[in-house]
């Protein structure tokens, strides 16, 4: 888990599980919200990384 991507994915997984459990009551809704949140966090992280790629610093 020492790569940046793996660390980010594990972090997103933990945060998604806790928020989905906190904010939804039904298991099906929790799963759906958790998957959406996880995809958003990981996709957003990768997108932010790519947007920074052209920066000189």
């Amino acid at each position: 888990m020492t790569s940046h991507l793996a660390s980010m994915v594990v972090f997103a997984l933990f945060v998604s599980i806790v928020f989905a459990t906190l904010m939804r009551d039904e298991p099906r809704e929790q799963l759906r919200f958790g998957v959406q949140l996880f995809a958003g966090l990981v996709g957003g992280g990768i997108l932010a990384g790519w947007l920074q790629y052209p920066l000189p610093f």
Binding site: M1, T2, S7, V10, F11, F14, V15, V18, T21, L22
Partner: protein, 131 residues
């Protein structure tokens, strides 16, 4: 029977004791309120996230009021409850600033504590019958 369990917690003293238990042991508040599934998820996930932070060589920050950001990070770290004190007692969380994963470890430790604070607030709301 979450609703019945929540309705039985009326006394403010019991509610605050329950919140203290929820802070010390992640998920304990929900377990005491009869929400076993949520409580178990928090009980497993949050200490595991905290342990990952230690494994990634993050630092448990000291309470240094002369450095406000460090003090805030320390406040967030302690939000996880008993795992924080266990780690301190075992001399874990010294942090290794030159490790590639140092900042990730800090993020895991801090966010685990902050998430547990949210879980405590959620347990308080459940105990008050708001959820």
């Amino acid at each position: 029977m979450p609703v019945a369990a929540a309705a039985s917690v009326r006394s403010p003293g019991i509610t605050y004791l329950m919140c203290a238990a929820a802070w010390l042991v992640p998920g304990a508040g929900h377990l005491l309120l009869g929400r076993q599934r949520k409580g178990l998820i928090f009980l497993i996930t949050l200490p595991l996230m905290f342990a990952c932070g230690l494994w990634l060589e993050g630092r448990l920050f000291p309470f240094e009021l002369s450095q406000p950001l460090v003090a805030l990070a320390a406040f967030a770290d302690i939000g996880i409850g008993i795992p924080y004190f266990v780690a301190k007692a075992m001399n874990q969380g010294a942090g290794r600033a030159i490790a590639a994963t140092f900042e990730y470890g800090n993020a895991f430790l801090i966010v685990a504590g902050l998430l547990n604070m949210l879980v405590v607030l959620d347990a308080f709301d459940v105990a008050q019958g708001r959820k």
